[in-house]
Symmetry: C2
Subunit: 355 residues, 2 copies
């Protein structure tokens, strides 16, 4: 295994106040980098002061987007310890994304130990106020200066850290979502299942158009028939209909969310009937009409649980649970964040403490 | 209009020999950069020595791929002049791509005059040997350091230049192409029509898998039914069936190629029946079976015309024109490169001379 060389920053930055924390705008004192060279493999694992990347303007990442990323969080427990939430799932998914994008596999154990070491060095940056956490962004970029369309011969695997505030400043609040009928996020055979830049670039336009009309996010339908529900914004999505909780089954164009997986496990643990299957927008509308649409919510690392108060579809406004946060959404948010921050029992051993 | 400030390199690099030229590996002495800041617009247009880009690791381009590019060429005429080929079309498409990716519009006249000025400064780099040219790569990257999924508030528009050799070292040669049945390049509502990184990242895996079996490129079918022909590799595609020349109609997921457009104009000018319409792979196969599939070729800036000698589809090998370059492919390649290099008459006034 590669040894991780550490170079500490001479000067440390001023840390922000908890109430100033936004999402993803402030970064810690250090970062992790490891290089890949064809024929040599991954090498020179190192922690260095947070600093700009210096890249040839012909680097493949700027032209052909050969890049993947992950998103995870570290939390401070009431005892002042720092914990990660199911980090091995993110490392597995990182390599799954790498495979789809023709990026060489990364040693998952090394990557995780690098993340732990980086956090332990920047431990003072882990915020402790309610709803705050340290967001972790591992990513891989292709750095070979070459304008041919081919996998790069050089890469960098980088990890940066950002102390972040509560996603919802006043606790969780239901959001208004527009069902997207024009633009498509992903299609089977594309890159929807991978956490790669192009999926997000492609979503910006739809997001911009609905934001002008007051919607927080779009709900993505399948790219083939624009009939089946896929994701909401950059989250997975759940519906509670007549007591049953339904989420779209993984089909190759839906991201395999770690929070999605945790939500399903918790719901089953609590005895809810949970069904991963195809679900059409029409079925959700019919449930609304006959009064059986009880709740809807998104799940993801950034917001954890995001209740949906209203869905706009084909000129109709589908108001869910009187635009209030439902019982299951509240319960999931409370228990999940409780487990993550060490305030609730962790029945599945999901959390990992950093020494 | 912005004035372009010029800072010349102190030391010039050694220029490569014509026979050493590959595609997109060597770059000239200078580059163009212009910055965008929200509220201020595009500013600080400048030509500077070719140098690395220095970017925050949180720059949006690395994470969410908000980026677009163009590809064009400059050619030396027998009289030693330098010419561009329909550059205004590339500038229009750049802004069309910008619109899809939520990137602010760029003054097309300024961009073109920047490209001309950059080439005139690096004029000695325009190669003159048969089949060589100066490849021009304008591109836009999103530079704001922010991990939220939203359009960037800062961008850089950059132009780099690369002297390139003939795409086919021994003139044009028919290539073997595999029809792609698993992976999808683009779908209506996605970004297929835009020249953006994600489309190319998504294509690498399919390309890698067929390359192992000896195919040069894949032929992309539509993402919905995997039935209609879209593009070949990163080129548009044409078929000659029973005297008629057919190319897939622009449908939102096919790139609007400048070479594609020029091929259609030339063929019509020469009196060929040309039809832009939907065409299925089954139709091509049936034409092959009944002996009316006369030619097939790709069109693009890099290769100009690339004849297809063989198509692999559902276990069948469809050999086209005995795997030889067809008459129309040869004629198009000869006349198009002739117009581009000033050796043939330019009936449509496509070329633009650089002073």
């Amino acid at each position: 295994m590669n040894e991780i060389k550490v170079t500490l920053a001479d000067q440390l930055k001023q840390k922000p106040l908890a109430e100033q924390l936004e999402f993803g705008r402030i970064f810690t004192d250090h970062m992790f980098i490891m290089d890949y060279t064809a024929g040599k493999g991954w090498h020179d694992a190192r922690i260095i002061p947070y600093q700009p990347l210096v890249l040839d303007p012909a680097a493949i990442v700027f032209h052909y987007g050969q890049t993947v990323f992950e998103g995870m969080k570290a939390y401070e427990t009431p005892e002042g310890k720092v914990r990660l939430f199911r980090p091995e799932k993110n490392m597995q998914r990182l390599n799954k994304s790498n495979d789809r994008l023709c990026i060489p596999q990364i040693d998952e154990k090394l990557a995780l130990s690098a993340i732990k070491k980086l956090i332990s060095i920047d431990k003072e940056w882990v915020p402790s106020a309610e709803g705050t956490s340290l967001y972790i962004r591992p990513f891989v970029i292709s750095t070979e200066p070459y304008l041919g369309v081919a996998p790069s011969k050089n890469y960098q695997f980088i990890v940066i850290l950002a102390p972040v505030g509560a996603y919802y400043k006043e606790g969780i609040n239901p959001v208004k979502i527009a069902v997207e009928n024009q633009f498509v996020r992903a299609v089977a055979g594309g890159t929807g299942e991978a956490k790669t830049a192009g999926n997000y670039a492609s979503s910006l336009k739809a997001q911009e158009l609905v934001a002008d009309k007051g919607y927080a996010q779009v709900l993505w339908l399948d790219g083939l028939e624009k009939k089946y529900i896929e994701e909401v914004g950059s989250m997975n999505v759940f519906f509670k209909i007549d007591g049953e909780i339904i989420t779209p089954a993984l089909n190759g164009s839906i991201l395999e969310g770690v929070t999605r997986n945790s939500v399903i496990s918790l719901l089953k643990h609590w005895g809810y009937p949970v069904n991963e299957r195809k679900i059409t927008m029409d079925e959700v509308y019919q449930a609304h009409k006959n009064g059986t649409l009880e709740e809807a919510f998104g799940s993801g690392t950034a917001a954890v649980i995001s209740p949906i108060g209203e869905l706009a579809w084909r000129g109709e406004n589908i108001v869910i649970n009187e635009s209030k946060t439902g019982f299951v959404s509240k319960q999931l948010y409370g228990i999940l964040t409780g487990i993550q921050t060490g305030k609730e029992e962790d029945p599945f051993n999901w959390t990992v403490e950093i020494e």
